[in-house]
Symmetry: D2
Subunit: 146 residues, 4 copies
Amino acid sequence: MTQTMIPLAGALTPEGHRLTQRVYYEDTDFSGVVYHARYLHFLERGRTDFLRCLGVEQADMTVEGEKAAFVVRHMDIDFLASARMDDILTILTRTETAAGARMVLRQTILRENVRLMEASVTIAIINAAGRPRRLPTDLQQKMLGM
Amino acid sequence: MTQTMIPLAGALTPEGHRLTQRVYYEDTDFSGVVYHARYLHFLERGRTDFLRCLGVEQADMTVEGEKAAFVVRHMDIDFLASARMDDILTILTRTETAAGARMVLRQTILRENVRLMEASVTIAIINAAGRPRRLPTDLQQKMLGM
Amino acid sequence: MTQTMIPLAGALTPEGHRLTQRVYYEDTDFSGVVYHARYLHFLERGRTDFLRCLGVEQADMTVEGEKAAFVVRHMDIDFLASARMDDILTILTRTETAAGARMVLRQTILRENVRLMEASVTIAIINAAGRPRRLPTDLQQKMLGM
Amino acid sequence: MTQTMIPLAGALTPEGHRLTQRVYYEDTDFSGVVYHARYLHFLERGRTDFLRCLGVEQADMTVEGEKAAFVVRHMDIDFLASARMDDILTILTRTETAAGARMVLRQTILRENVRLMEASVTIAIINAAGRPRRLPTDLQQKMLGM
């Protein structure tokens, strides 16, 4: 068997951040295909590794010296086609807008060249008290560069 | 301890189908609140029990004698506030439109009177081959009655 | 449709704590039955509500004024038969031993009178630093009473 | 950032099959560490990719021309230490016994050189009707070779 090698945290490419993930048993339901909410897990892995490739580890993130976190505020999702057990998925993540305390990411899940899902995800940055915090300028620049 | 009694499959009410669910360990993440994708599980439990209260068991559903299934085509979701471990959630499900092979449900997750999530969910009916099938008239009537 | 009413947090009975839960889409996999790891979610809901019925809310638990938590140290699990979509499950939880910083619970999952799973679960109490803490005497007495 | 490259399906090594996986948000709970049942997902990914490296795709598996599936019959699990968000885990899978319709796998989850979990997993092969089927001799030989 030839081994497919992948970068563990995905890679920054001209189309956006690109992450490869496998569909396992846990992702499917009795209808035979991937359970609809599981695609959100793949999207979240994509966003986490996109940020990781930009130098952000979410478990230790700070903004102006304060502990901070990203939270999802809005999602608009088109379910276009289904993935199945053993499929190899590509999760593409690109920045649409990033300004103030909010950013919008555009995410696509593909199996080879077939688009399975398109999602627009609005993210906010908040501090430990839940107050919105401005996206740091250097991170904003890096994100808009993608 | 006084026991809160709930109907296992929820109940049809003038505001729509109403299901009570508890937040457990499995629903939370290290940020301390419920993981965003888990709300879609609560929504799906609400839709399943809404259909169950209308007489539809999804595992055995047929349309014109053919095996059929509901699939999610589109979701538009506002994440308004967070749920936490041990919270008791109410999932409200109402029909917005139901015509042809498509229906749109409006779903709300509440903790007491606080809205945590608003979602608009577009559902299609398909047969085993993945072809769209028309919503049976009697089910359409029942759904629109809610 | 006649509504089955259930106590949200289950109930203490002579056989142990008894919790009723429904199998939803999310619990199944493409083999058509419940995904094996999901039974551990049902077991954990049972333990959480067992403790809740004994007056313990895990999110706020303290031992001798210190924040404390239960952690699973060992599980021995027999998978006897499979659950399917729409099944109604009973999770039974009883104390086998409770002494020092450790307790062993015996848990059974049933569909009507059919046993689907038997599990022996060893739990420890730890403080925020991960150090073992003794089970408070009053909780130990309550647990052994079950 | 230097990219860590990994084989997507893991690799067969003298210690057994070796799979690298990342801990994401979805795997953690509000206690701050990985939710105990999620380790079973990592174990199952390990078993699936172990079989894949031996040439078995579970979604299409047949035994003597009949559709067949692996099912978990027993698990004995020691939870030794906790994983956290962003951790990189190694899942090791080796065959302990494989005879008749049953095999026992020994699985370990490590973070660098720290053992987080040890599990002994008994697996059976069944046909579509749930009847036990003998492990094909060539697969048995391959498994015992690991």
